[in-house]
C-alpha cells in the first residue's frame, strides 16, 4: 500500500510540476519572441494545454482506479493494468514537455509552427481525456455488473477527494439538510456551496480589481493605443534589422529591368494580383477597370521606374491601389519588369489606348535603360 502511495505522490508531483515548467519556459520565451505583441497565441494555447493536464490527471487516475477495481473484481492481477496506466500518463507528461521544447528556441518566424505543435498537443490531450473517461466508464460499469453487493465503506482516493473538495454530504444523510420545500413535488436541499466555488468567485473578483487597477489607476498596463505604438515600433525595428542584412534593396530610383527568370516570377505575381483589372494578357478589355498595359500609351509613364512607382504608391483616385503593404520591393521590381516585357504584345480584345504615347521600346535583356521618370504632379 505504501508503495502505491509513493507512486501516487510521484505522479501527482509530476503532473502538478509540469505546468510550472511549461510556464517557466514560456515566460522567458515570450519575452524573447513577442515582447510588445500583447496578443500572444502561444501563451493562450499553453495555458489551455496546461489546464487540460488537470482533467487529464483526474481521468487518468480514474482510469487507473477503475482498471484496478475491475481487476480485483474479476480476480485478476492488477499490476499490469496499473503499470500500463501509469506508463501512459508518464509518457504523456514527457511528450507534453517535449513538445514545449521548440518554444524555448523559437524565433519570431517560427512562432506559428510552435502554435501548431501545441495545438496538436491539446488535441492529443483531449483525445486522451476522452479515452480515459470512456475506458473508466467501461470498467466501472463492468465491475458494477459483477458486484452483487457493492461495498459502501471503501471509497477510492479520488472519490474521497471529489467529495472533499465539494464538501458533499453523503446521500444517506440528505434528510438532515432538507429545507422542507416542496414545489410541485420538487424538494430542495441546503447543501453548502462547494468551498472551491466560493474561493474561485473571490479570486475572480480579485482578478477584476487588479485588472481595473492596473489599466486605469496605476496605469502600469498599456491601453490599446499605447500597445499599438509599441507593436509598430517593434515592427519597424525588426524590419530595419532585416533590411540591413539584405543587399540591393530596390526602390523607384534604382529599379532596372530584370532578367528573364525574374520576369517569370513577375508574371506569377501578375496572375495572382492584377488580372482582375488588367486581364490575364495585360491588355484589359473594352470598358475594363484598368488601362491596357500592352500598348504604347501610358497615363502615368511607361518606363520601368514609372511602372514601379505606379505599383508601389498606386493612383488611388483613378482606382489603382497601392501595393506597398502587400508586395515587397523585389516583387514590385519583378512585376514592373514583366509589365515592360509584355509591351507591344498586342493581345486580342484589348482596351483602347489611354494617356500619352510613350515611344521607348525595351527588351527583356536590356538592362541599361535611361532614366525616364517624369515628374508628376
Amino acid at each position: 500500500m505504501t508503495q502505491n502511495n509513493i507512486k501516487k505522490i510521484t505522479l501527482s508531483c509530476i503532473t502538478i510540476v509540469a505546468p510550472i515548467f511549461i510556464f517557466g519556459q514560456q515566460v522567458t520565451t515570450q519575452a524573447a519572441v513577442t515582447q510588445a505583441n500583447g496578443i500572444d497565441l502561444n501563451s493562450v494555447l499553453l495555458f489551455v494545454a496546461a489546464f487540460l493536464l488537470i482533467p487529464l490527471y483526474i481521468t487518468g487516475n480514474t482510469f487507473i482506479f477503475a482498471a484496478k477495481k475491475y481487476a480485483t473484481d474479476t480476480k485478476k492481477e492488477s499490476s499490469t493494468l496499473k503499470k500500463t496506466g501509469t506508463l501512459i500518463l508518464l509518457f504523456f507528461c514527457y511528450q507534453a514537455l517535449q513538445a514545449q521544447l521548440p518554444a524555448t528556441n523559437a524565433t519570431p518566424s517560427d512562432t506559428d509552427w510552435t502554435a501548431w505543435i501545441i495545438t496538436i498537443v491539446i488535441v492529443l490531450e483531449s483525445l486522451l481525456i476522452v479515452i480515459f473517461s470512456s475506458q473508466s466508464l467501461k470498467f466501472i460499469s463492468r465491475s458494477s455488473v459483477d458486484d452483487s453487493q457493492p461495498s459502501v465503506a471503501k471509497n477510492s482516493w479520488l472519490q474521497n477527494f471529489w467529495n472533499k473538495i465539494n464538501s458533499f454530504k453523503p446521500i444517506a444523510e440528505e434528510s438532515d439538510i432538507d429545507t422542507g420545500h416542496s414545489y410541485d413535488g420538487i424538494r430542495e436541499l441546503d447543501n453548502i456551496t462547494p468551498p472551491w466555488f466560493a474561493t474561485g468567485f473571490a479570486l475572480t473578483i480579485i482578478f477584476a480589481a487588479i485588472y481595473l487597477y492596473r489599466y486605469h489607476v496605476s496605469k502600469s498596463a498599456p491601453l490599446q493605443s499605447e500597445e499599438y505604438k509599441i507593436e509598430m515600433a517593434q515592427a519597424e525595428q525588426d524590419k530595419a534589422k532585416y533590411m540591413a542584412t539584405q543587399t540591393n534593396n530596390v526602390d523607384e530610383n534604382t529599379v532596372t529591368m530584370l532578367s528573364t527568370s525574374e520576369i517569370e516570377k513577375g508574371k506569377k505575381t501578375f496572375t495572382e494580383k492584377c488580372i482582375a483589372c488588367h486581364a490575364a494578357n495585360g491588355g484589359s478589355m473594352p470598358g475594363g477597370v484598368g488601362p491596357n498595359l500592352t500598348d504604347s500609351y501610358w497615363i502615368h509613364g511607361g518606363g520601368i521606374k514609372d511602372i514601379f512607382k505606379s505599383i508601389k504608391y498606386g493612383w488611388v483616385e483613378k482606382g489603382m491601389i497601392s501595393w506597398k503593404d502587400q508586395l515587397s520591393s523585389t516583387q514590385i521590381a519583378q512585376l514592373a519588369s514583366f509589365i515592360r516585357s509584355i509591351n507591344g504584345s498586342n493581345p486580342a480584345n484589348a482596351k483602347e489606348p489611354q494617356g500619352e504615347l510613350y515611344s521607348e521600346v525595351i527588351t527583356a535583356t536590356d538592362t541599361t535603360v535611361k532614366d525616364t521618370t517624369k515628374l508628376k504632379k
Binding site: 502554435a115 414545489y183 410541485d184 430542495e188 475572480t204 482578478f207 477584476a208 477597370v289
Partner: protein
Amino acid sequence: MSLEKFYYDNKFPKLFAIACIFWGTVGMLLGVIIAFQLAFPILNFSEYFPHLAFGRLRPVHTNAVIFAFVGNGIFTGIYYALPRLLKTPMWSKKLGAIHFWGWQFIIVCAAVSLLMGFTTGKEYAELEWPIDIMITLIWVVFGFNMFATILTRRERHLYVAIWFFIASWVTVAMLHIVNSIEFPVSMMKSYSWYAGVQDALVQWWYGHNAVAFFLTTPYLGLMYYFLPKAADRPVYSYRLSILHFWSLIFLYIWAGPHHLLYTALPDWAQSLGTAFSIMLILPSWGGMLNGLFTLRGAWDKVREEPVLKFFVVAVTCYGMSTFEGPMLALKNVNAISHYSDWTVAHVHIGALGWNGFLTFGMMYWLIPKLFNTTLYSKKLASTHFWIGTLGILLYAVPMYWSSFRSYFMMKAFTPEGQLQYQFIDIVQTIIPFYVMRAIGGTIFLTGVILMIYNLIKTAKSGSFVREEEAEAAPLVKEYQAPSGSMWHSVIERKPILLLVLSLVVVGIGGLVELIPTFLVKENIPTISSVKPYTPLELQGRDIYIREGCYNCHSQMIRPFRYEVARYGEYSKAGEFVYDHPFQWGSKRTGPDLARIGGKYGDAWHFNHMLEPSSMSPGSIMPSYPSLFANLIEKGSTNSKIHAMRKMGVPYPEGYEANANSDLEAQAKTIADNLSANNKITISSDKEIIALIGYLQRVGKDIKLEPKK
C-alpha cells in the same frame, strides 16, 4: 382549511411546444442553408431572388432561432411549470391566446419583413419599429398574465425557477425598449436614435444581455423545473440558488462591452466589460453545479433515460460556454476570436448544446405527459442524442480550426514588412471548414427530424389531456414566518419586491456604463473634418443596411499592425458621430470596409457588385444584380434628411428641399465618370450609383483633417 379544486390547462403548453419545434426546424434549416451559401455562393440565387442572399437570410436565421425557437420554448416551459409551481391555473386563457397568436404573428411579420429588406441594421434587433411595438405589447400581455398568476397563487413562496422567469421578463423588457428607440422615417424604415460609439454600446449591452436574459436565465428556470422532475431528485443547494441567481443577474448586465474590445469604445468601458466577464464565471457555473449535483445518486438513471442525457449535455455545454465566454472577453484572446469563426462556434455551443438540448430533453419529457402516455421510442431518442452531439462537434471543431488558421494567416508578415496573405487567400483556405460546418449543422437538423417523428408517434399513441385536476388550500392573509427561516424567504413571499429588486440589480450596470458614454464629451473626441453624409451617400448607406452587408463586413479597424496594414488607419470614435445606426459589424467573412472609400475606382465597385469574382477571383460574396435595376428611392430623401436633422445631424435648416437636386448632381458625376473612363453606361438613378457613392465615402473624412 378547505381545499379548493382547480384545473391546469394543457392547451397552451401544447401549442407553444408545437410552435417551438416548428420554428426551431425552420430556423435550423435556414442555418444549414446559409452555411452552405458561405461555401457555395451560387446558392444565394441572387440572379432570381435578391431576398435570399446571405445578408438577408442570416438575420432571419438568428431571429428565428432566438425569438421563435427559444422564445416559444420558454413559453412552453412557463405555461406548464408556472401553474404547477404556484398551485393555480394561468390567470387568463384569453391573455394566453393573445400571447400565443400575437407571438406567432410577430414571427411571421419578422420573417417576411426581414426577407424584404426591412431592417434596422442592428444585430438581433433588426426588426423595424412597428414590429418592435408589437413585441413590446405582447411582452406586456405575457408579463401581465404571468404576474396575475403569481399574485393569485396558492403556494406561499416562489420557487427559484420563478425568480429566473421574473428577472428575465423585466430585463428583456428594459433591454428591448432602450435598444429599440428609433426615429421612424416611414412605415417600415427608421433610424436608431443613437449614433456611432453610443449606438454600439447600447446595441451590445442589448445583444449580450439578449443572450443572458433570453437564452440563459429563462432556460435556467426551465432547468430548475424539468431536471429535478425528470431525475426525481431534490435540488442540490438552495443557498447556491440564491447566491448564483443574484450574482448572475447583477454581473451579467455589465459584460456587454466585451463585444467591443479594441474598438473605438472608450478604454474604461472595455475594461469594465472584461473585468465583469471574468467575475461571471462562477455565478454562471452555479447553475451548472446545481444542475449536475442534483443528479447525484441518479447517475444510473442518466445512462437509461434519454431525457436526462439531453439535460446533462445541455448543462455541460452551458458550463463550457460560460467558461469560454469570459476567456473570449480577455483582451488577448479576443484579439484572435473577434470577427472570426470562433465567436460563431462559441454561440453555437450555447445555442445547439444548451438551448437545443435542454429544449429537446424538455419535449421528450413533456409531450408524453401532455398525452398521458410514454415516449414512443427511447431508442430513437437516444439516437437523436448521439446524432445531435456529433452534429455539435462537427459544427464547432471546424469553426475553431478556421478561426485559428485565419488568425495566423491574417497576422503573417514577410520579413520585409509586407502582409504575407491577401484576404482572399484566407477566404479560400477556410472554405473547406465552412463545408464541414454545414455538414455538422445538417446532422444536427437530422436529429431534430427524428425527434419530430418520435414525438408525433408518441402523441398519436396517447390522448391529449386538456386539463389536469388538482387541489390545494388558498393562502391565508396572515402569515407568521417560522422562526429561524432564512432572510431570503421574505423576498420569495413578495413577488413585486422581487421584481423591483431584480430591476434595480440589473439597472445598475447599464446605467454606470451608458450614462457617462452619453454625457462625458471626452469619451468621443470630435474630429472636425467628419461631415454628415450627402443625400446620395445616405441613400447608399440605407441600401448597404438593407442588404445586410454588416453580416459579413465590419467597419471597425482595430489598432493592430496587421489590420492597419491590411485595411488602413485604425478607426477613431469621432468618425462615427453621424452613423445612425452604427455598422461596425461583428464578423469578417469579407474584409473590413472602414476605409474602403477611395481604395478602388468606381468601376471596380461597379463590376464587383455585378459579379464579385470578376474583380476578386475566388470571392464568396453574392452578386447583386438587382441593384442595377432598382431605382434610388428619391421620394424618401426628404424625410430621411429630416429625421437625421431631428436627431442632431447638422444638415442646414430647410435642406430637405434641396437634398434631391444634390443627390442627382452627385449621382450624375459618378455615372459620367463611369462612362468617360470605363465606357460603362448606367443611368444615374440606379441604386448601384448610390451604393458606390456611399462606399467611396466611408472612412475618408479623417484624411482631410488638418495635420497637427
